[in-house]
C-alpha cells in the first residue's frame, strides 16, 4: 500500500503545478496584453481608465457569467441580446413619465421578464429536447420582435434620475455597474464552486446520462441554467438602459457573440462540463482591454478589427501552447 502511495503524493503536487500553469495560460496571455498596453499608452493604467474599462466590461461580464452556466451544461443561448433589449424596454417604461416607479421595482421587473424568457428557452431545451442553438435562435427573433412591438421601434426616453443611477452612479469611487458585475460574479463563483447545485451543473454538462444515473435531476438543472441566464440578461438590460439614458429597442444586437466569446476564450469548453467563471472573467477582461487599448492608441477602425481578431487568436494560442504537452 505504502509502496503505491509514496510516488503518488509528490507526483500529485507536480501534476497540480503543471495543471495550474496550463490552466492559467490564458491568465498569462492576459498579463502579457496588460503589460504591453501599459507601456504602449501612459494613460492606460490611470485610475480613470481602469474605472472606464471595468464599467465598459460590466454588461458583457454579467452576460458572460450567465453564459458560463449555460455552456457548462453543454448548451448555448443566442437570445440574450434580444432578451436584454426587451427587459430594458420594460424597465424603461416603468421609470418614465410623470410618475416613475421605484428603480428597484423596475430592476426586479427586468430580471423577472428576463427570467421568463429564460424559462421558455429552458422548457424547450430541457423538456422538449429542442437543440439549444435552434430554441434560443427562435427566441432571439421572437424577443426582438416583441421588443420592437412594445416600444414601437422607438426609444423610451426621460427615465427617472434614480433609475439612471444604476448605470451612471458611483458608490465611492466605484461605478454602480461594476459593483453589480462584481456581485454577480462572486455569487456565481460561490455557487459553481461550493454548492451542490454547482456540482450538478458540471455533472450534467460532463455526461447527462451518468448524471441521471447518479440521481441528479438533469432536466431541472438544465432548465435552471437558462433561467439564470435569462434573469442575468434582464439584469444587464436594466443596467444598460440606465447607462444609455433611454431604453433602446435595438440594444444588445450581437451581444450574445461577445458573451460566448468571453466564455470560450477563457477556455470553458463548448461541449460542457469543463471550465470556470474565473476564466470567464479573464476572457471578459481580455475582450474589454483590447477594445479600450486600441481606442486609446488611436488605431484606425480598419486596423482595429484586424488587430482585435489577431489578439484574440494569439491569446488562445498562448493558452493552448502551454497545454499541448499531452
Amino acid at each position: 500500500m505504502t509502496v503505491e502511495l509514496s510516488p503518488t503524493s509528490t507526483d500529485s503536487r507536480r501534476a497540480m503545478a503543471g495543471r495550474l500553469l496550463s490552466r492559467y495560460g490564458i491568465l498569462l496571455a492576459f498579463i502579457i496584453l496588460f503589460v504591453v498596453l501599459s507601456f504602449a499608452h501612459q494613460n492606460f493604467l490611470s485610475t480613470g481608465n481602469i474605472t472606464n474599462v471595468l464599467r465598459q466590461v460590466s454588461i458583457n461580464g454579467i452576460l458572460a457569467v450567465g453564459m458560463t452556466f449555460v455552456i457548462l451544461t453543454g448548451g448555448i443561448d443566442l437570445s440574450i441580446g434580444s432578451v436584454l433589449a426587451f427587459a430594458g424596454i420594460v424597465a424603461g417604461m416603468l421609470v418614465t413619465g410623470a410618475d416613475p416607479s421605484n428603480p428597484a421595482l423596475a430592476l426586479l421587473a427586468a430580471v423577472g421578464v428576463g427570467a421568463a424568457f429564460g424559462a421558455v428557452n429552458g422548457v424547450l431545451i430541457a423538456r422538449f429536447k429542442v437543440t439549444a442553438f435552434v430554441a434560443s435562435l427562435g427566441m432571439l427573433s421572437m424577443a426582438r420582435g416583441a421588443t420592437l412591438l412594445i416600444s414601437d421601434g422607438r426609444p423610451v426616453p426621460n427615465l427617472s434620475a434614480e433609475f439612471r443611477w444604476l448605470g451612471q452612479g458611483f458608490v465611492g469611487p466605484i461605478p454602480v455597474p461594476v459593483i453589480a458585475f462584481a456581485i454577480v460574479f462572486l455569487l456565481a463563483w460561490i455557487v459553481l464552486r461550493f454548492t451542490v447545485y454547482g456540482r450538478w451543473i458540471y455533472a450534467v454538462g460532463g455526461n447527462v446520462r451518468s448524471a441521471r444515473t447518479s440521481g441528479i435531476p438533469t432536466r431541472t438543472v438544465v432548465f435552471s441554467a437558462y433561467l439564470i441566464m435569462g434573469a442575468l440578461a434582464g439584469f444587464a438590460g436594466a443596467i444598460l438602459t440606465a447607462r444609455t439614458t433611454s431604453a433602446l429597442p435595438q440594444a444588445g444586437l450581437g451581444y450574445e457573440l461577445d458573451a460566448i466569446a468571453a466564455v470560450v476564450i477563457g477556455g470553458t469548453s463548448l461541449v460542457g462540463g469543463v471550465g470556470s467563471v474565473v476564466f470567464t472573467l479573464i476572457g471578459v477582461l481580455i475582450i474589454g482591454v483590447i477594445g479600450n487599448g486600441l481606442d486609446l492608441m488611436g488605431v484606425s477602425s480598419y486596423y482595429q478589427q484586424i488587430v482585435k481578431g489577431a489578439i484574440i487568436v494569439a491569446a488562445v494560442l498562448i493558452d493552448r501552447s502551454r497545454n499541448s504537452q499531452s
Binding site: M1, V3, E4, P7, T8, D11, S12, R14, A15, M16, A17, G18, R19, S22, F194, T195, V196, Y197, G198, R199, W200, Y202, A203, G206, N207, R209, S210, A211, R212, T213, S214, G215, I216, P217, G273, V274, Q325, S326
Partner: protein, 515 residues
C-alpha cells in the same frame, strides 16, 4: 523450471536466459519504455519481446501501465524514452496510421467506436473498399463485413448502427475490425472484458487460427483462466515496471497472481449457506417488448442474487429498467414490502437502490470530472449542509474510498478519464457504496478489475449482504457467479429460464439453461 520470484528488474541481456528464441523470430521488441503524464510516471520500464505465432499475455494490476505501454507500441502515445524494434528495425510511430501500415493492429481497452456509423463502416474505417479510386464501395463493405462475421461466428448485423448495439456487441465489432486488418501483430487490450464466455470461446478459436498463420498476439486480460487457456508466454508489469517474463508453461496460477499483485492474497472464503429471510426487493411482471418479458424476482435480506445469461439475454436491460434508467412497458417493485414508484434513478436512489451500470463510459462516469467529484456525485446530500459542499467531509470520504478500493490515481483531483480502466471501474463502485444503499444492483461489477481488487470487491459484497442488505449481481463469468451468489436466476432471450441455488449449480447446468 524453478525461476525464483524476481521483484526487481531483469537486465536486458538476461532475457536470452529465459528461453527466448533467436531474434529472427521476434516480431516486436520493446525495451526501457518510459512515460509520464504531467510529471507523474505511468510507465518506468516497459519491455516485451513478441515472437511470431505466439500469444503473449501481458499481465499486471490495475494501473500497472499495460494500456499505456500498448498505446505507445501502437503510436497512440509518444514514449518519453525507450526503443521499439520491429523485426530488427528501430521504429518511432508518430501515429496509429504508421503502426497500422507496419502491420500492427490494436483492440483498445476503452471502446471508442463511431457511434453513428454502421457496423460495416466502423470495421472498414480508414480503409474503405473503393470504387473508381474515390468512391466507397458500400455493397462490398457490407458483404465483406457479413462474411467476416460469419467466419468469426459473431452474430451481428453489418448494417446496424453502432449506437444501437450493446457494449458486448461493440466489443465484438472491435475484435472483428482488428482481426480483419490481417496484420502481423495484433494487440488485444482486455478484449473479453465485456463479452460472454461463449463469445470468448469464439474469440479464442479465432486467435488460435491467427496464431497458426504466424501472427503474434499481445493479450491483456484480468481473467487468468483465459490467459492460461490461450497464451503461451507471459510478461508481468507492476507499478509501471517490468517484473518478469517467460513461457506460460513454466508458471502456475498462484505464482502469477503473486507476481501481478506483489503481495499475498488470502483465499476467498466460500459463502456460507443461509436461510432466506425477509424479502428486501420484489420485482414483478417487468416487461419491455423485444427486450425482456414477465420478469418477476425477489431478493432477500442478506442475499446475493446472481443473474446469469448469454450475451443479449436482457439482463442489463431489465436491471436498467428496474433502476429507472430505461423505459419499461410494465412492472412494479416493492422494497421491504412497500411499493416504490421508480421513474428515474433518483427515485431508486431515494428508495435505497444503487446501481453500477455495465457501460461505465456512457452511463457511469462523468469522465471530465475528478475522481473525487465522481465518488461523491450520487450522494451529494451527505456531503453538504444548506446546499454547500463540505470539503472536509468530502476529502475524508474520498481518501478513505481511494485506499479501500486501492484506486491508483495521481491525485483525487485528477480527471477520471486519466485513470486506467480498472481504476475507473473502482471509482464507479466507490460512488455506489457512498449512496449507502440497501440494495445494490451491479452489472458486470468486476469488468476490467485485477485479481487483487476483485477479491476486495467480492469480500465487500459479501460483507455488505451480511449486514442485512441485498445484492443483485449480473455477471457473465460463471466462476464468479458460482463463487459469490447464493441463488442464481438464468435469463434466456428476455425471459427467466430457471433458477437454482448456487450450491447446487454447476457450470454445465447454467450453460444448459441459458442456451
Amino acid at each position: 523450471m524453478a525461476t525464483p520470484i524476481t521483484t526487481g528488474t531483469v537486465p536486458a541481456q538476461d532475457l536470452s536466459a529465459h528461453g527466448y528464441a533467436v531474434e529472427a523470430d521476434v516480431l516486436l521488441a520493446a525495451t526501457d519504455i518510459a512515460k509520464a503524464f504531467s510529471g507523474v510516471p505511468a510507465l518506468l520500464d516497459g519491455r516485451i519481446k513478441l515472437k511470431r505465432g505466439s500469444v503473449h499475455a501481458l499481465c499486471g494490476g490495475n494501473g500497472a501501465g499495460k494500456s499505456t505501454f500498448l498505446n505507445i507500441l501502437m503510436g497512440l502515445l509518444r514514449p518519453d524514452s525507450g526503443t521499439v524494434m520491429r523485426e530488427g528495425r528501430v521504429v518511432h510511430y508518430a501515429s496509429a496510421a504508421e503502426a497500422l501500415e507496419d502491420g500492427i493492429a490494436i483492440i483498445t481497452q476503452e471502446l471508442s467506436p463511431v457511434l453513428d456509423m454502421t457496423v460495416a463502416e466502423n470495421i472498414y474505417l480508414g480503409r474503405e473498399p473503393r470504387r473508381g479510386g474515390w468512391f466507397t464501395d458500400t455493397a462490398k463493405m457490407v458483404a465483406d463485413a457479413t462474411a467476416l462475421f460469419a467466419r468469426l461466428n459473431f452474430n451481428i448485423d453489418a448494417n446496424a448502427i453502432m449506437r444501437d448495439l450493446s457494449v458486448a456487441k461493440m466489443q465484438l465489432v472491435e475484435i472483428a475490425k482488428a482481426i480483419s486488418r490481417e496484420s502481423q501483430i495484433l494487440i488485444m487490450d482486455e478484449p473479453t472484458s465485456a463479452i460472454g464466455e461463449k463469445e470468448a470461446g469464439t474469440l479464442f478459436e479465432a486467435i488460435r487460427s491467427l496464431q497458426a498463420q504466424g501472427v503474434g498476439i499481445i493479450y491483456v486480460s484480468h481473467r487468468l483462466t483465459d490467459i492460461f487457456a490461450i497464451a503461451d508466454e507471459y510478461t508481468v508489469f507492476r507499478d509501471g515496471r517490468y517484473i518478469e517474463s517467460g513461457p506460460l508453461a513454466n508458471i502456475d496460477r498462484q505464482r502469477l497472481i503473486g507476481l501481478i499483485v506483489g503481495r499475498d492474497l488470502r483465499d476467498q472464503e466460500p459463502r456460507p449457506a443461509r436461510e432466506r429471510s425477509e424479502l428486501l426487493l420484489e420485482a414483478s411482471d417487468y416487461s419491455r417488448k423485444g427486450q425482456f418479458e414477465d420478469i418477476s424476482l425477489s431478493v432477500a435480506k442478506g442475499e446475493i442474487l446472481g443473474l446469469y445469461g448469454l450475451m443479449g439475454a436482457g439482463r442489463s436491460e431489465f436491471a436498467n429498467a428496474l433502476y429507472g434508467n430505461a423505459p419499461k412497458d410494465s412492472g412494479s417493485v416493492k422494497v421491504r414490502g412497500s411499493a416504490l414508484t421508480i421513474k428515474a434513478p433518483s427515485d431508486a436512489l431515494r428508495g435505497g437502490i444503487a446501481m453500477i451500470t455495465e457501460d461505465r463510459k456512457g452511463t457511469g462516469l462523468v469522465l471530465s470530472a475528478s475522481v473525487s467529484e465522481n465518488i461523491v456525485m450520487a450522494a451529494l446530500h451527505r456531503f453538504s449542509r444548506f446546499g454547500f459542499m463540505s470539503r472536509s467531509r468530502e476529502f475524508k470520504t474520498v481518501t478513505d474510498q481511494i485506499a479501500r478500493f486501492r484506486i491508483r490515481t495521481a491525485s483525487k483531483d485528477l480527471a477520471v478519464q486519466n485513470l486506467s480502466g480498472g481504476n475507473q471501474q473502482k471509482v464507479v463502485f466507490a460512488r455506489c457504496v457512498e449512496t449507502d444503499p440497501v440494495i445494490l444492483i451491479c452489472d458486470e461489477p468486476t469488468r476490467g478489475i485485477d485479481e487483487g481488487a476483485k477479491r476486495e470487491i467480492y469480500s465487500f459484497l459479501s460483507e455488505f449482504a451480511a449486514r442485512g442488505n441485498a445484492v443483485l449481481m449480473i455477471s457473465s463469468e460463471i466462476p464468479e457467479i458460482l463463487a459469490n451468489a447464493d441463488r442464481i436466476i438464468v435469463f434466456r432471450r428476455g425471459r427467466i429460464a430457471g433458477e437454482m441455488f448456487a450450491a447446487d449449480a454447476t457450470q454445465e447446468a447454467l450453460v444448459h439453461l441459458a442456451s
